[in-house]
């Protein structure tokens, strides 16, 4: 509720403000960049499973974000832009996986050690149950897995996740509930 009031007030304030100058936009983008670099990087990392590709995706996400920033800011009506940023990263990650699937297997790829999509270096040093959670995440559908990454890695609210995934708040709540339930069942079967 307070978020709605906050967003409403912000939207009203924005409506009264004339179009931002280039310098104002740059400052606003700088703020966005500094605030959400870790979010975009974390999201990318959990989607692609390695630092190298996560860095590329993060770079691309911020390049795209900059190109469309003015419009996104105008159309957000004062709402937070994190869901929009994560949606850009989401689309880039989807393209990344699609390109990877299309690419013929090269000899070099064959000798590379397999990289777990969420198989982080740090998990290897963690507890077995954490590793089990990470591994079972792979068995979820893409949208359920993504919703859990947004919720737990980025700490996004249902509303933010809904905006990032282009769903309603209700559908997102159900999606997360089902994702957790399925994960519980998968872990219980082990």
């Amino acid at each position: 509720m307070s978020e709605e009031i906050e967003e409403g007030a912000a939207a009203e304030a924005l409506a009264e403000v004339p179009r931002a100058t280039k310098a104002e936009l740059d400052l606003a983008f700088e703020e966005l960049y500094r605030t959400h670099l870790r979010d975009v990087y974390s999201y990318s990392y959990y989607r692609v499973g390695n630092h190298h590709d996560a860095e590329d995706l993060t770079e691309q996400a911020f390049l795209q974000a900059y190109r469309h920033f003015e419009r996104a800011r105008r159309e957000s009506h004062g709402r937070p832009l994190r869901p929009w940023l994560i949606r850009i990263a989401h689309n880039l990650a989807a393209n990344h996986h699609r390109d990877k699937a299309r690419r013929p297997t090269a000899a070099l790829d064959a000798v590379e050690p397999p990289v777990h999509p969420h198989g982080t270096e740090r998990v290897a040093e963690g507890r077995a149950e954490l590793r089990a959670v990470i591994e079972r995440l792979d068995d979820l559908s893409e949208d359920r897995r993504e919703a859990l990454i947004m919720r737990f890695a980025l700490g996004m609210s249902n509303r933010e996740i809904a905006r990032a995934l282009g769903r309603t708040d209700g559908a997102t709540k159900v999606l997360i509930h089902r994702a957790i339930k399925q994960l519980e069942e998968l872990l219980a079967d082990e």
Binding site: K22, E55, E59, L63, G126, R151, I180
Partner: protein, 113 residues
Amino acid sequence: MSEGVGLNLERLLTDALRPVDPPADLVGRVETRLSSIAEQAAAELSSWADELSEGELEALRDPRNWVRPVAAVAVGGAAAGALVVVGMRRRGRPGSLRERAERLLRELGPPQG
């Protein structure tokens, strides 16, 4: 499934999916990449402008021929702006892409119907 299990799983998920700090050199890499894009666009615009003959300059007064320079300015402008954003602060430097583009458009004069 008890609620306790659900809460425990949420705790495990919070532990398993901890936020990941980006490498320290990521910002530098972004700067390099943006810089490269800006320089490429600037070079494209500059060489293209240098090669123009009188006839081509005349043709440029027709807005239908503006696609190439406008695209170069747009790409370079976005990248140059992003450079500012990530801290390079190159705006105001003599001969920046935006200044060159603006100067070129001034030299070309207003379109003639």
